[in-house]
């Protein structure tokens, strides 16, 4: 197609990074659960949706100030993650990876249904955190909310890094990820760690949902699409790798955006998947994944 001006390309990049940040957050959620349990949680997108919807409930409908509503939402969705583990994952008698994954699909359908009854079918809106006056930058337009999205991704990553590197619980979770049997031998309660992993990734999903809602609205069936994109990001970056999730998410966002802008918007979703397939062809473990580790995993 014809050439694009610098300001246009800048605009594509900014949009790509913003959307990519959301994909990255979803991808991190996938990885936390995957690392501890070896399963892919298909309800990850629903956590994002619940985050956005609950924020609307607390902030818009009940009128709770934004910071408190933010905390309430994260607590609520974290609880949902905890309940999911307690009532859908733990009771399964012979927990093969496949049955657990299917259980998460059931959970995603259930959560979607509950959200439809609770919030209705119309998309809901949330006011932007710091207004909707766009910032101009070399001819490109940045919504203040974009900065919130990117900023919260950075904060989330920093907190998680601290958690996994410095705290004893974080280290215990990493131990479970490396070898659950050995971890339980040294006295780590693996079941608790699994529960924690669900809560944690639900909480991160909620953050993604909260920041994206002012940009894109939120409705009950938005989760599946976000989960697919987040999952692509996980695979692209390497299953189980945190830096991989971030790189994968941002890359998919940027490729989508540039592909749509410079080539054809009709094939937007195809570009990211073509790149994904290409990467898997040459490096099956993903960009930053480790083939040795993936051999140990059950899935």
């Amino acid at each position: 197609m014809d050439g694009a001006s610098t300001s246009q390309i800048l605009q594509y990049l900014i949009t790509g990074i913003t959307i990519g940040s959301i994909y990255a957050m979803v991808a991190i959620g996938f990885n936390i659960i995957y690392n501890v349990t070896d399963i892919i949680n298909f309800a990850q997108g629903e956590f994002v949706m619940l985050g956005g919807m609950s924020m609307v409930l607390f902030h818009v409908i009940l009128g709770i100030p934004i910071i408190i509503a933010f905390l309430f939402t994260i607590i609520l969705v974290t609880l949902v993650g905890l309940i999911v583990d307690r009532f859908a994952i733990r009771p399964i008698r012979q927990p093969s990876v496949l049955t657990l994954i299917i259980a998460t699909i059931a959970v995603s359908i259930l959560l979607k249904g509950i959200a439809m009854f609770a919030w209705g079918k119309d998309p809901l809106d949330l006011p932007a955190f710091s207004g909707r006056t766009p910032i101009q930058l070399f001819g490109a337009v940045i919504q203040p909310q974009y900065l919130w999205v990117i900023g919260l991704l950075v904060v989330t990553v920093l907190i998680l890094t601290f958690f996994f590197e410095k705290t004893i619980i974080g280290k215990a979770m990493r131990a479970c990820a490396d070898n659950p049997d050995a971890a339980s031998l040294v006295g780590i309660n693996v079941k608790k760690m699994i529960m924690l992993s669900f809560s944690l990734s639900a909480g991160i999903g909620a953050i993604a949902g909260i920041v994206i809602t002012p940009i894109s609205l939120m409705e009950y069936d938005r989760g599946a699409m976000l989960a697919i994109k987040g999952f692509s990001a996980v695979i692209l970056g390497g299953l189980g790798s945190f830096p991989g999730a971030i790189v994968g998410g941002l890359l998919i966002g940027i490729i989508e955006s540039l592909g749509a802008g410079l080539i054809s918007s009709g094939y937007k979703d195809a570009f990211a998947l073509i790149v994904l397939l290409g990467v898997l062809f040459f490096k099956p473990s993903g960009l930053l994944g480790n083939i040795e580790i993936s051999k140990i995993k059950r899935f």
Binding site: A4, S5, Q8, Q11, Y12, T15, G16, T18, I19, I22, M116, K121, D122, P123, D125, R132, P134, V141, Q143, I212, I215, S216, L217, E219, D221, R222, A224, M225, L226, S257, A260, G261, S264, S265, G266, K268, D269
Partner: protein, 400 residues
């Protein structure tokens, strides 16, 4: 293990029986409103996408149909016969829709079927209606529903009440031409609705002397449409026409406003016909044009307008019962059900006669236009069924 279970057969039996009973009660409360009366009950089936991605269509359609049945029965039914409506939810799924229609025809023995809500589902049930010789009045837009491309004639048993996409395109293009606009950009969602609209937009452009500078698309669940708009901005068109339904048509307005493109006239498809969209656009819909059926703008119509009376009545009744603004989609169900009811009233419960009656309806004043059916036209509307409106102070205003 076996022993343990077989110890309590009574408990098991009680559980099974109570489950069956519960199911029975649930189904009973869902489908039947039967009252023992001597006259035969007229049954009309309905298939709407009450839940799922097209719920914004099916939900008002179901509510409207239920409202009408209530009204008709309160007024003594159709020639003394009680009207019973059996609604199934297709969830927007063609397979479910197909099964539901078969069930309505074979099991519930309905006289006619109204719906489905979306074009794809309608195409999936056209063969069913044709095979079982049951009149079907679709509430979906595509002209293909009532046009057999092999024979060049309408399908014998299938009708539809919504205006075709081509009429909306022509209404928009007529307005563009009147305003002296020649260079436009089009955007569409990659769903059936968007693809069909895009096809019509491309097809009719040259006829109205329009050049299409950009042809952009986006997914129905996309979270951001800034990229497509940025590209369009670079081409500097004189107007933008957007073809989508659901949240993306609100999103596109917000992104457009962010990018400072409010000075480029913006046209939405008739899918924009709900005040909820204006509300959600939070001020960014101001000045946006769209073609709408009369029922969206009942209170704006001059008293001399032929549809003024029926549309006002529908609006008031709908508001009174559901306490929410109506969308244009409910109007399609209104037209479909009242046309079937008129046929039942005139010819009684006979599928073939109902079909023949509908095919010969002339000058029927409905929510979305004045219907003139004929053997060659099973939609019965023209582009005059659309009125161009513009969003002004968060409400519609007629363009003249």
């Amino acid at each position: 293990m076996m022993k343990k279970v077989s110890k309590k057969p009574i408990v098991k039996a009680i559980v099974v029986i109570s489950v069956i009973l519960l199911c029975g009660i649930f189904m009973f409360s869902c489908t039947s409103k039967k009252v023992d009366e001597k006259a035969e009950v007229y049954k009309v089936g309905a298939v709407f996408s009450v839940t799922g991605r097209a719920s914004f269509l099916g939900d008002p359609e179901k509510k409207t149909a239920e409202l009408i049945v209530e009204k008709i029965n309160a007024d003594g039914g159709i020639n003394g016969h009680k009207l019973e409506l059996i609604v199934y939810d297709t969830e927007g799924d063609a397979t479910k829709c197909n099964l539901a229609v078969k069930k309505l025809i074979n099991q519930d023995k309905v006289s006619a079927v109204i719906g489905p809500s979306i074009s794809g589902n309608s195409m999936a049930v056209v063969p069913v209606a044709e095979e079982t010789e049951t009149p079907l009045v679709s509430c979906a837009a595509s002209y293909k529903i009532v046009f057999n491309e092999e024979t060049g004639k309408p399908y014998k048993w299938v009708f539809k009440t919504p205006q075709s996409d081509s009429m909306a395109v022509e209404a928009i293009y007529t307005n563009l031409k009147k305003n002296g606009i020649t260079k436009i950009a089009i955007m569409s969602v990659t769903s059936g609705f968007g693809a069909s609209g895009r096809g019509e937009l491309l097809k009719y452009a040259s006829e109205y002397g329009l050049t299409i500078l950009a042809d952009e698309q986006y997914g129905p669940k996309d979270t951001d449409i800034t990229v497509q708009l940025t590209k369009i901005k670079g081409k500097a068109p004189e107007a933008i026409v957007n073809w989508s339904i659901g949240p993306t048509q609100v999103l596109v307005l917000r992104n457009r406003s962010d990018l400072g493109m409010n000075d480029i006239p913006f046209y939405q498809s008739h899918g924009f016909g709900s005040r909820k969209n204006i509300e959600q656009a939070a001020g960014t819909a101001e000045g946006v044009y769209c073609p709408l059926g009369a029922c969206n703008i009942a209170e704006l119509l001059p008293d001399s307008h032929p549809q003024k009376k029926v549309t006002m009545k529908y609006m008031e009744e709908y508001k009174a019962k559901y306490n929410e603004g109506l969308s244009s989609f409910g109007g399609h169900a209104w037209d479909a059900l009242y046309i079937v009811a008129a046929a039942l009233e005139a010819v009684g419960n006979d599928k073939a006669k109902i079909r023949d009656y509908i095919e010969n309806i002339k000058g029927y004043v409905g929510q979305h236009g004045v219907f003139n059916f004929s053997p060659d036209d099973h939609n019965g509307l023209t582009k005059e069924a659309f009125n161009m409106v513009v969003v002004k102070d968060d409400d519609w205003a007629l363009v003249e």
